[in-house]
Amino acid sequence: MNQKSTAISSKESLISLYLDNLDLIKENSAETLNSARQSAIENFKLLGFPSAKNEKYKYIKVEPFFQKEFEKYFTPRCISFKIDDIFRCDIPSLDTHLALVLNGFFLPNKSMLVELDNGVIMGSLAEASKKYPNVVGKYYNSLASNEEDGLVALNTAFSQDGVFIYIPKGVVLERPIQIINLLMSDENQMVQYRNLIVADENAQASIAICDHTLSPSEFLTNVVTEVFTNKGANLDVVSMQNQHNESTQFSHVFAKQERDSVLSTNTVSLHGGVIRNNVHVLLNDEGCENHTYGLALVDRNQHIDMYSFIDHAKPNCTSNELYKALLDDQATGAFNGRILVRRDAQKTQAFQSNNNLLLTADAKMYTKPQLEIYADDVKCSHGATVGQLDMEAKFYMQARGIGEREAKLLLMFGFAHDVVKTIKIEPLRERIDDLVNRRLRGELSRCHNCPMHCC
């Protein structure tokens, strides 16, 4: 039985939607998630949607997106199709452990939770918190800033499921894990889910997350992902967002790094109507290394909003940020990157760079690098550029016989490649290079073999 409600999603109606469906929400989730809801909805009541007065959300008006009519489901809908028939990921040499999420609910292949021989657990977050309440309970909602961001609180109040990944102590996972988030519905739909990724001491893994829309309806996604890299762990997370122009996504990533751990996140926004990506990193002990990268390709009336916050709480950590945006037509974008070096975080090395390319006179980019340093023995730098295609470089290529259009494409591709080249999983890197190339040529905004027209 499917239950659904139609909501006019302003703040009040979301709160009443929550109250009216609380039993259903709880029933289709698990205790750990349920126990966090009450205080989260209280927070949301207090905070509401982030407004333009909120410096973090200065260039995006959040509330109007929630005022549209969306269907909201609190039970997973029965799936009557075989997922292989509609979706085949086009990264042929990428042999992965695959996890699928459909409209915010984990989509089991055989079972809700897969446990590999080496102790790796992956599957439904709700299921995991029933089976491993201690593990999930220890980490779940311990990082997400429910008290500061109304959208995060809203997610905590409503989230019922998502993906859970646990890499046990010392395990080195050779094959990457791939999470594919699919949005598919005949109706306009709002989706809120939650991912939890834990790499325990000295564990190593690579995770690729792909977001796709498989039907032309409007989608509003509000997703929170919490990532823990414990002592000595090494984790690599690549997200690829490829959604159609009628989709809106708010993504909040919260990461916490423990001693001597390495975390790389790389968010490639290939396509999407409106995308907001928040990345919060807490360097919680000495010797951490963090890499935070972002690439956005936007055109027409699309908007990309990138926010990062790197919190150097402890000494001897390194962080390295590179964000790039390429904006065409009337597209708009914003970058707000904050680095905080706390008072005892001596010997910090923190670097941030944001480069943007405007292809038309109508495209707009707002960029705001922020560096707050309270320690006195650190090495930090930040910089932002907004520019146009290099005409000298274009002429240089033309002088070698390369046509004007091709020369421009090569320049744009080169600009984007700076970010793509940081992806460590080689087949994925090549695949994303290819997608970026075709995206720039206007040939493609969806994966090659996928029969669905996402965009």
Partner: protein
């Protein structure tokens, strides 16, 4: 091959070239010398089709075609090659990708199929030896982080890949030490054939010890004021440009 008739060109309304006449035939090497600001680089840029220069008068004919009607890329595909005085760095675009795209555009222009991956790599290897360019360089982005000498070698390497009919070397010797100069000049000489031609633009006679010209032209104040054989370069080296400047006044 190349016929320049009474060429006038200006930038932002300021006339730089004031009536250039030049004819280059297949198999010839021409040197154009002249003091700073005489219009040498403007001449090479106009030949390559740089749009910021406006041709106000005159004609350029290249192998029977009106060069002024062609875009920079069409000129290149027709066989004109400009070796840049200051080669441009293009971050993110690999040498391999850049060169392959350029080569295939040239092939398409000639009605040929794109080069196969193995043929391309073979050609690259072969031509790299010609200019003694470090293999690692071609694995990098175009000119990114190259030293001055490496950039110039890279220009000649590209020339070797594209095999132009007319190569214009704009101050290829500037910033080169004597060893790099020899290598670059060697590369140019090896590429010399009876059916192609070279225009060497330079300040100094030094390069002409290695690339021996058939004709030397002296460009001053937007005009070719003197033309002679290779001995003219030596005379110029000895007497300095004041000789020309003062000569003008007399």
């Amino acid at each position: 091959m190349l016929k320049v008739k009474d060429l006038h060109a200006s930038i932002n309304g300021k006339e730089i070239l004031k009536g250039i006449n030049l004819e280059v035939k297949a198999g010839e090497i021409h040197a154009i010398m002249g003091p700073n600001g005489s219009g040498k680089s403007t001449l090479s840029a106009v030949l390559a089709g740089k749009e910021i220069f406006e041709v106000t008068h005159g004609e350029i004919e290249f192998n029977g075609k009106n060069l002024l009607e062609l875009s920079p890329e069409e000129r290149s595909r027709e066989g004109i090659f400009l070796s840049f005085q200051y080669p441009i760095e293009i971050p993110g675009v690999s040498m391999v990708n850049f060169m392959k795209t350029a080569l295939n555009e040239h092939r398409k222009h000639k009605g040929l199929d794109p080069v196969t991956a193995s043929d391309f790599l073979k050609l690259m290897r072969e031509r790299k030896e010609l200019v003694e360019i470090d293999s690692a360089l071609t694995n990098r982005a175009v000119n990114e982080g190259f030293s001055g000498g490496e950039k110039k070698k890279n220009e000649i390497f590209q020339m070797a890949m594209l095999e132009p009919k007319l190569a214009i070397l704009d101050e290829t010797d500037s910033g080169l030490d004597i060893d790099a100069l020899r290598i670059v000049a060697n590369g140019v000489n090896k590429l010399k054939r009876s059916d192609n031609a070279t225009i060497v633009i330079t300040h100094y006679q030094r390069l002409l010890d290695y690339i021996v010209p058939d004709f030397v032209h002296i460009l001053y104040n937007g005009q070719i004021v003197k033309t002679g054989g290779k001995e003219l370069a030596l005379e110029l080296e000895e007497k300095g440009y004041d000789w020309i400047k003062n000569g003008e006044q007399n």
